[in-house]
């Protein structure tokens, strides 16, 4: 495994009405190719900001993000993003949503169709290709979001609490689906979540952030192969250990 993405001393200060808020303070870590890395932390700790800096949607105040040897300056199709509220285009059908990136890159039509069909099949939405977004359930909407990001064959997919808006049962189904997909590809994923359970279930490594200003508290590696058994002693012990870590980061104090 080799270093693929590197965050070098990332810092982000937001200015509003002459008040400065340090959202992220001196965060450095590397991500390997094919790895699923979670960023976990209390609410408002800047985990989404870190993700958006990798995406190029937010510019770091200091430091730099390097993806596959290139410094990030702006958003690009090599870093796909999946949003908590799905951010699908409501006037486009499922197929047209997935096709968006290929349309932008001016891929020939027949090639586009083939590719969209392949990814619709991967996320299990072949039968819903022509459905409108508002006809889908939350879980299906997010599968469209994932297919839309994957179809561009990005170097990394950035997921911003992608299952946060779903009910508990759907969330579990989506997590299992993601694990199954990971078994078939070597897609690199950065996954932001506030759910310890979700992070332990999915990740190769978990980056735990402190409360604001977000800094790295600990990076936990999980060797257990996926799919993981939530009821195993190992799983529960790790979950408990991380919970204890996070409790020290009580945002109310």
């Amino acid at each position: 495994m080799t270093e693929y993405i590197r965050l070098n001393n990332i810092r982000k200060v937001f200015k509003k009405d002459d008040r400065e808020t340090v959202a992220v303070d001196d965060v450095s870590f590397t991500i390997e190719k094919g790895e699923l890395i979670s960023i976990l932390g209390p609410s408002g700790c800047g985990k989404t900001t870190v993700l958006r800096m990798i995406a190029g949607l937010v510019e770091p105040t200091d430091g730099e993000v390097i993806v596959d040897g290139v410094s990030v300056r702006e958003p690009g199709p090599d870093r796909g993003m999946v949003f908590q509220d799905f951010a699908l285009f409501p006037w486009r059908s499922v197929r047209k949503n997935v096709e968006f990136g290929l349309e932008i890159s001016k891929m020939p039509k027949n090639e586009r169709k083939e590719r969209v069909d392949r990814y619709l099949e991967i996320v299990g939405l072949t039968d819903f290709a022509d459905a409108r977004v508002h006809e889908l359930s939350g879980g299906m909407k997010q599968r469209v979001g994932i297919a839309r990001a994957m179809v561009n064959a990005p170097k990394v997919i950035l997921m911003d609490e992608p299952f946060g808006a779903l009910d508990a049962q759907t969330r579990n189904i989506m997590q299992a689906g993601l694990v199954e997909m990971l078994g078939k590809t070597d897609q690199t994923i950065v996954f932001v979540t506030h759910s310890v359970d979700e992070a332990v279930f999915l990740s190769d490594r978990i980056v735990i952030l402190t409360k604001r200003p977000g800094n790295i508290k600990e990076i936990v590696s999980i060797e257990t192969p996926r799919p993981r058994d939530r009821s195993s002693a190992e799983f529960t012990a790790l979950r408990k250990r991380i919970h204890t870590q996070l409790e020290k980061e009580d945002v109310m104090k």
């Binding site: 958003p75 870093r79 932008i104 890159s105 990001a149």
Partner: protein
């Protein structure tokens, strides 16, 4: 007697035909009440300026058969002259307001710059420009431009508002999918504002329709429903004037109704209810 009971008519809210009949019945009763009130007022006031419904009906039949013999147009001529001017004014307003609105919504500095001007111009009743417009143009263009002024502001305001209401996430999504500024603009921002543009059109058409009549009342030349009303009431043909008023009402209802329908259909088609 259960069998007899079941034959009785029962209103069923889930039945299309029942709903339609109900709406139709209520409308007929409601409009009949308006006609009654009009009749009572006509008798009570006792002025020739408020003719009773039968006299207006007679005038209507007469005008439809023989046309407007004073100005030398048929009623359909008058209606189509007004309608054409109205649509032309709308088209110009649309061509100006939509691109300008998208730009103002998009650019903060342009928004700050145009805001004071728009706030100053907006409260002016469009018809106030009629004398000036008539002096520098002609009786055809002046009403068109008054309609333009009437429609351009609500349409512009709605378009700007629509751009500002765009979900930031959709723009971020487009950018992470590789869209550049221009592509983001016409593939995401423009479709996002369509429902707002459509509701601007709806409001604008209502105002524009009032403008066209007012402007024609002022210009007094080259036909149109407004001119028809002014000329006939000036000569004491009050019943004819009322026919003109009824024409305004029905044509306005049709235009705004059509816009309403188009708005709803478009929003639904775009999945943006």
């Amino acid at each position: 007697m259960a069998s007899e009971n079941s034959k009785q008519f029962r209103y069923d809210g889930d039945n299309r035909i029942h709903r339609f009949l109900r709406t139709a019945l209520i409308s007929v009763v409601s409009i009949s009440m308006l006609v009654m009130v009009w009749w009572v007022v006509s008798v009570a006031v006792g002025s020739p300026a408020i003719p009773a419904p039968p006299a207006v009906w007679e005038a209507f039949i007469n005008l439809m058969n023989h046309g407007d013999r004073i100005l030398g147009y048929t009623m359909m001529d008058h209606a189509s002259i007004s309608l054409r001017r109205f649509l032309f004014g709308f088209a110009i307003a649309f061509a100006v307001a939509v691109p300008l609105g998208l730009l103002i919504g998009y650019s903060k500095i342009l928004d700050e710059f145009t805001k004071p001007v728009l706030e100053l111009l907006r409260p002016i009743a469009p018809i106030a420009w009629a004398p000036i417009l008539l002096f520098i143009t002609n009786p055809t263009w002046a009403p068109i431009l008054v309609v333009f002024v009437g429609i351009v502001f609500p349409l512009l305001t709605n378009t700007i508002f629509g751009v500002k209401k765009i979900d930031r996430n959709l723009i971020d999504a487009a950018r992470t999918l590789g869209a550049n500024k221009m592509q983001t603009f016409y593939k995401v921002m423009f479709p996002c504002t369509v429902p707002y543009i459509m509701s601007g059109i709806k409001i604008g058409l209502g105002i524009g329709w009032m403008c066209i009549i007012a402007a024609e009342l002022y210009t007094q030349l080259d036909g149109g429903i407004g001119t028809f009303i002014l000329m006939h009431t000036d000569m004491g043909n009050w019943a004819n004037g009322f026919v003109g008023i009824i024409f305004i009402s029905i044509m306005g209802l049709l235009t705004v109704g059509l816009a309403e329908y188009a708005h709803r259909a478009m929003v639904k088609r775009m999945g943006m209810e």
